[in-house]
Symmetry: C2
Subunit: 339 residues, 2 copies
Amino acid sequence: MKKAPENSPSVRELGEQGLLKRLQRFCPPEWVGDDAAAIAMTPSANRSLVVTTDMLVDGVHFSDRTTSAEDVGWRAAAANLSDLAAMGATPLAITVSLGLPGDTLVSWVEGVYTGMVSCLDRYQTAIAGGDVCKSPVNVISITAFGWVPTNRTIRRQNGKPGDAIVVTGVHGAGRAGLELLLHPETGNDWSEAETRELISAHQRPNPRLDVLPMLWEVMGEGGEIAGMDSSDGLADAIVQIARESGVGAIVDRAVIPLPPSLSQRVGEERAIEWALYGGEDFELVLGLPWTVAREFVKRLGNGAAIVGTLTKSTRVCLTDSTGAYADEVITQSLGFQHF
Amino acid sequence: MKKAPENSPSVRELGEQGLLKRLQRFCPPEWVGDDAAAIAMTPSANRSLVVTTDMLVDGVHFSDRTTSAEDVGWRAAAANLSDLAAMGATPLAITVSLGLPGDTLVSWVEGVYTGMVSCLDRYQTAIAGGDVCKSPVNVISITAFGWVPTNRTIRRQNGKPGDAIVVTGVHGAGRAGLELLLHPETGNDWSEAETRELISAHQRPNPRLDVLPMLWEVMGEGGEIAGMDSSDGLADAIVQIARESGVGAIVDRAVIPLPPSLSQRVGEERAIEWALYGGEDFELVLGLPWTVAREFVKRLGNGAAIVGTLTKSTRVCLTDSTGAYADEVITQSLGFQHF
């Protein structure tokens, strides 16, 4: 990442003030130049402020092999906006802190910002400021904040036995895209369009902020919404919702929406494994009353599906309505663990 | 920092889920367990949301020699709250992201959180969530949120020629405390109380949120407030306010409030140098109309002073009303530079 072909100064050569000045171009001018950014608010009753934060470390969360600077920026912004979407919140702004070794190229830093802003622009969101500092390794810390009508707050703990489990799109695409980047030979006999779409799912994931207005419309005035995003995998999302709500779940592996032809390409078993445990899909996983769920899925089209039901048990059980696979219990221990 | 005497597991031994569970004890339970925290707001017209963020890196911003885990946490929280105070904002919450090597002791992480919460508790503020991830070096990233009545927003650019430059307390104490920690022999013939107070100024600085209600009362309905905090030094604060406001300043070195007896202990020249360039003092530096400034300083007492005036020039000039020192021009180039 540090050896970009273009002739860029390093951050040490540019200095802190020079770097900050360059990066300020990416921020709305009214938020620049103070100890903090002051964001004028339209007052409105019954709204909650929603905040989420994420840290990404070079060599742990991103690397040269799979991720350009622009993609690092896009993915970092998308992951945080997805956490807002997972709460039902509309984004307002993000802050960005960067820890940088002196020899990091300014072009890399600007690439990260360019990627972030490309993603944020789609959701009318901006960078409200940040910090740059010296560090032995590139570190990116993002905090995103947004608003949610308090009675529309999506929470993991809101699940009720009998709720339908809805996914807003296909799963496994992010993991498949990563595989194609790490092992390009995997895609030797795939069509270019297939390859491109899966790689794009990995490099440029879209937070599902777009589904919220539709969800509210379908919900009408009714009830609480359970849910989270599937950035750590579909299985993890369902287990977390079940655990936080004190319920169980039955999920039908036969109806989990996969990217077109993924099962043919890598085999059914592997495709489902990637969908359940691969992560990086940034879809929403919601617990909704069945009538709401059916209407919502119909309107969403395009990969959205009801994949199961929340139950009175406390086990999360993977069944197969085609009868090809035996039932399995899903536990969190297969999920992602750092350190 | 990693070799604490007590028998603590490392973060690798505890694992991510175990660590998160331990850290959740430090957060209000209603903000735990989702993709983000939803903070219920009291709606009110004409308020702005204020956000600020800071990254601290082991070996760059803190080290074993001068800073315990608790002090690292306190200082990190205080610096962010001070940035809110510098905007005139009342804090609401902070988020905390930690990048940690696997061998960092859990006791160190909990020490950092304990220090943060000790500081936050004084200002009725809490941790609204965060992230922990693997990193080759300990990294702490904090984002703080607060509210300001929009017409009370303190901004660097609000300075006007003729404004009095007010400091809310003594300067140089933070730097003197650091000196005593780095070179304890410096304090051999100082009183224990002196030493303790200066070290405490360095380890446990207090953000000046307490002065805001008094400031608003003295201001009445009147005008805009110019200012920032002096965490990068008094000179830097005055230069930044002058530059952003397109004005100059005259500062009288003879009236800059110093810690009692610091001049006798280290010499006048050095004491003033620490006050101007030492940083880490976390006082507010404000540009106010003279009548307001006089009343405000009188009410503050205890080290608060009018140290100069904003001028129509664009130079920041250090004079000496006792005549002992020649005039100097202060430029930002003496300020703190990373990388």
